[in-house]
Symmetry: C2
Subunit: 680 residues, 2 copies
């Protein structure tokens, strides 16, 4: 047979003929098959392991005979003896194609293997991190050609790894010569692909062949919480996660109070910069410790955050973000040395990547959400709301994406609520109210039982019932509405009007008692009229923002709603819709994306081309500024009713019935009129 052997790689199915004697790794590269190698084909790293298959493959149109692959050679024999090869495995850089072959590439040998994300409908992350290990053999210095060791290393990298420009930070330069000599002129480098037109950068160097792993941090730097995931840059797995309070809270709970702090206090911004950088350094160090690695192993961090946090982290006074026109100092993504920010707890030469800000009120966190959810690729018109102290709202599909931010305030997080507290053990997080009896039952964080289950009291003895958190208050208000305890305008009915003694008079208004632990010295958890007003303000802001984007898009409804934010994961879609936080949509089309901003950071950490993608997307997103939109106020007022004064909620009507009660003795008025116009 005069034809070259036919090779089929699985699972990709890529196929082609290569001359007999071609190494499997070379064949894979020729045919564009995703087969890993760190040592560049020297039989050291074993990343190119493959499983040859023999026999008849009628579907593939070939028969692979024994002998279609060369026998195990000395390098493989040594590797197997010293390190062990799984049965049937061969080193792709050693085994030679001799005849028609089917070759399986196991997942761990694929560079661009996929990381499955937890959420069921989420797309997988394709691994292609900016920082990779590269083993390289460097020519020894020659007095007759006295180039620097660094220049010879760069030339070797260019030759063997096909990179163009390569640079190295000064501290790395100082470690170069000992590493080259200790490794006998062979080293492994952590090679970082620069963003945009940046050169490749050597972030670390080890003598000889280095088997260690590389780590990166995906950081969601929120106003309240800083969450970070220590991620293995080889396979995308999360090795440790941690969330800490943002220490800037002592300068102001919400963003605008921090901007004010900066305006009122000389050096205030610098102080906030200092504490947040220190917090990130500590976070990195504690994650390294938890995962049993050293800070030197952490070579990258990707950060998402809102514009105020973004500026404070960078050492830029956020004062302009507190006043129209809300000008960002810099809006595009940033690629920096961690050392420029004085960050420690990671490698000396570690790199930072900050996602772009979309607008003065729509930050890199919203960009992270966009990257995680890719509304620009959606077939259905999708509304994404990231609920936090500020709500970031995205609306779009493949025809375009709009974005805005709306100042919901901290009510959704349990702040400004009379019995409110942060989500912590002891906090009520779920509430149900029986529409007949008007009796509530609830669950608290840290206990799986409902409050009317046997053994509940004993189960919560350790923490007690201490208050109500954000998701709890939302459910409580929605349940009160459904149980007829609350009218559409947000008035709590009296005991007389509602028929339950849990409705307690409070001055001229009423409150609804969810839990009374006072007999045991515990808390009385009461939903007051003030709490209802706080929730109404927050949800009106959220809804009005969404509605503004719908106006801009020229639609009256959306196909799909995605609730993002750590908090979004805990809101039940039905309750959110009863409350009128979000526009009406089929309930099965309202999903939670979890911490989508953080997921966006993880994607950008694991896949370098995602960084360019989100930059391009951020530029394309049309920004709508709620503060100057003429209709925002109108939308806000109309959204004050529960669920809404004018907009119909036909989908909601199919899953929940909202009693048409009215607890205002005076009756009438704009809201009542609005309610009468309701069609749902």
């Amino acid at each position: 047979m005069s034809q070259d052997p036919l090779v089929v790689f699985m699972p990709s199915g890529k196929r082609g003929r290569v001359p007999a004697g071609t190494k499997v790794l070379a064949a894979a590269r020729q045919l564009g098959v995703d087969l890993d190698s760190v040592c560049g084909g020297r039989g050291i790293c074993s990343k190119c392991q493959v499983s040859p298959s023999f026999g008849d493959f009628p579907k593939l149109g070939l028969t692979a005979r024994e002998g279609a692959l060369s026998g195990i050679n000395a390098v493989e024999e040594r590797y197997d003896r010293v390190r062990g090869l799984k049965p049937g495995r061969r080193l792709g850089c050693q085994a030679e194609v001799q005849g028609d072959m089917v070759i399986d590439v196991p997942p761990e040998s694929q560079v661009h293997r996929q990381v499955v994300r937890k959420a069921a409908d989420a797309r997988a992350i394709v691994m292609d991190p900016a920082t990779k290990l590269a083993y390289v053999e460097v020519p020894e210095p020659d007095m007759h050609e006295p180039s620097g060791d660094f220049q010879r290393l760069v030339e070797a990298l260019q030759r063997e790894w096909g990179v163009e420009r390569v640079t190295a930070p000064l501290p790395l330069m100082a470690r170069l010569q000992p590493a080259l000599r200790k490794g006998g002129w062979a080293v492994t480098v952590a090679l970082h692909k620069g963003h945009r037109d940046e050169a490749h950068r050597i972030l670390d160097i080890w003598p000889g062949f280095y088997e260690g792993r590389l780590y990166g941090l995906a950081i969601d730097l929120g106003s309240t919480t800083i969450a970070a995931h220590l991620t293995d840059l080889r396979d995308g797995s999360v090795k440790a996660s941690v969330g800490v309070m943002n220490p800037q809270i002592r300068f102001g709970e919400d963003l605008m109070s921090r901007v004010s702090y900066s305006m009122m206090n000389e050096g205030g911004a610098a102080e906030m910069t200092r504490v947040v950088r220190a917090a990130l350094s500590e976070l990195a160090a504690s994650l390294a410790e938890e995962a049993g690695i050293t800070p030197r192993d952490i070579l990258e961090a990707v950060i998402v955050c809102n514009p105020v946090m973004h500026h404070l982290l960078l050492g830029i006074d956020p004062v302009e973000l507190g006043q129209a026109p809300f000008a960002l100092a810099t809006s595009e993504s940033l690629s920096l040395d961690a050392a420029e920010l004085g960050l420690t707890g990671m490698a000396e030469a570690a790199r930072l990547f900050l996602l772009p800000c979309i607008a003065g009120h729509v930050g890199a966190d919203a960009a992270g959400v966009a990257l995680a959810e890719r509304p620009d690729r959606a077939e259905e018109l999708t509304l994404i709301v990231d609920v936090g102290t500020n709500a970031e709202i995205l609306l779009g599909d493949k025809d375009g994406v709009l974005a805005c931010s709306s100042p919901t305030g901290p009510a959704f997080e349990g702040a400004q609520i009379s019995s409110g507290q942060r989500a912590a053990p002891g906090a009520i997080e779920r509430v149900e109210i029986d529409a007949q009896t008007k009796e509530p039952r609830f669950k608290v964080i840290g206990c799986d039982l409902w409050s009317d289950d046997p053994g509940f009291t004993e189960a919560v003895a350790a923490t007690g019932v201490t208050g109500i958190c954000g998701s709890g208050i939302i459910e409580a208000v929605a349940e009160m509405r459904m149980a007829g305890l609350l009218d559409a305008r947000g008035l709590i009915g009296s005991a007389e009007a509602t028929g339950t003694a849990r409705s307690e008079p409070q001055g001229r208004t009423h409150g609804y008692l969810i839990h009374d632990g006072s007999a045991e010295g515990g808390a009385r958890v009461l939903v007051t009229q003030g709490d209802i007003r706080a929730i109404q303000l927050a949800k009106s802001a959220l809804y009005a923002g969404a509605r503004l984007l719908m106006d801009e898009r020229g639609v009256e409804k959306v196909d799909k709603v995605v609730l993002a934010g750590a908090f979004g994961a805990h809101i039940s879609p039905k309750h959110a819709m009863v409350l009128g936080m979000i526009p009406d949509a089929p309930l099965e089309k309202v999903t939670s994306a979890g911490n989508a901003a953080g997921t966006g950071a993880r994607i950008a950490l694991c896949n370098v081309s995602a960084r360019a993608e989100i930059e391009a997307l951020a530029r394309k997103i049309v920004k709508v500024e709620t503060a100057i939109a003429p209709r925002f106020q109108e939308h806000f007022v109309n959204a004050n009713a529960i669920p809404h004064a004018v907009d119909p909620f036909p989908n909601l009507a199919t899953v929940a019935s909202l009693p048409n009660v009215n607890f205002n003795a005076g009756g009438g008025g704009g809201e009542g009129g609005g309610r009468r116009r309701r069609r749902g």
Copy 2:
């Protein structure tokens, strides 16, 4: 006349027709005339001032009538009233061409004006610094297009100044927003052109139009001395200069002893790095103070130094430079933030540029010499020796350049000499010996009189005569040889053999007494046999290095010799040749280039394209390693004789007669044989 007006710019003579109404600045740009502007043609900076000429210009073929230029407009009128315009001057950005014109561009309006260097035969430096001021008007932020202020600034710079990529360090980002607002959306930036493929970088920003000047430092970081020139980046003038001792001297006088210090002492290299960086910071601060500017005005520094200083400055252990194969950690030029080295005394965002190293023993200082002297452009074969503790030697012409380094040791600087001292007031720097009487006379630093002039004793009373410096010992030895006090092998004759009582016995050898101040409690300055040996070793190393390059080039003589180094300026060519430091050449072809390495730094500071030129040249230079050259030892031994054992010195013979004396009672031997073969 239907033709467009003809404009001729002087002194360039560039000419062309432009439509009537074209601004002079626009016409200059169209015709490629070098006319400056910082404000981009807004009548603010006055950098584009020109002098129109009227009348008949038969040689230029035109007649310029009154009215060929538009009248003084309101902008010019205001500028003249507020700031004053010299008579006849117009603002090129305001005056419009109306008819045929001759326009003079005065030197101060040329961007690329030339800086005349002091040395008579030196080429001028063409001003084209990496850092320039650029005034720019930036669109205000717009909530509907919420790009960052930085992005709008970059776009304005791209639009108005034709730059491509622009970046800014973090501290600058923090100053951006206040500057833009204070300047009413107009700012002046210091825009730095990146090296190679680096982006442009904003190094500083000022509100509105900024008239301040920009400064740079040209630094020659020597093993013994650090010299720096504070240079105005607008016109190349040197505002202040200073030389200080390198504080590393306490770790070792010469380079190899510093390398040893690093090898013997844990953390020794880091300590040497620390002190040299601190010295540079102090130097910068003191120069700023001397010139009455602030450190913020210093935006760049260009540094030349030998490889050991280069590595120590960068924080790289120089241990590899102390042993074959003398591998540099990095050889190419480096463009860095001053902050990366922790340098202060200059702007926060100041940039550093280090010239490339040519080889492990031929550093960025030699590259500086090459840039100042450009041997690669010479028609005549030119030998350049930069004499210091190490001698760097370049040989070449337009057909190619060779380089080597030779370990002369510190004898030429007065060290290892019995009465030796550094060049300081009181040190003998010139010596003459009467060939008849064998009596010496001398000059000391700090006094213009010869020692036999009336009033000399009184004139030197303040300092006394304290010892002999490098140039003094060279002249003394050469004069002793010419006066017959010293034979070709370097032996000092006895009083009996020489006929002077100044020849004193010292054990089995003799010394020659130049000055006896002992009666007044002063020094006895004696040239001992040991001093002669030290000078012989040093000059043999220097000559052998030069000879090695001549071998490599295949020549027996050179056309031209250039003595570089601060020290080179003080050596008389004749004495250098009598001593056999340098190969024989016509005396008028032996010149001094002063501190050519420092001049190279100044050129690279003032002209950004010189940086690429020296990089290309450094790559082309053929390096010769003296330590492994088989013939170096032979050349070294032959060069021990004064002037030389075998090489003829025909040019020297025409200007100096060297008595054929022999003070070795035994006579004969290799050197004697060699001397007999001499033809000159």
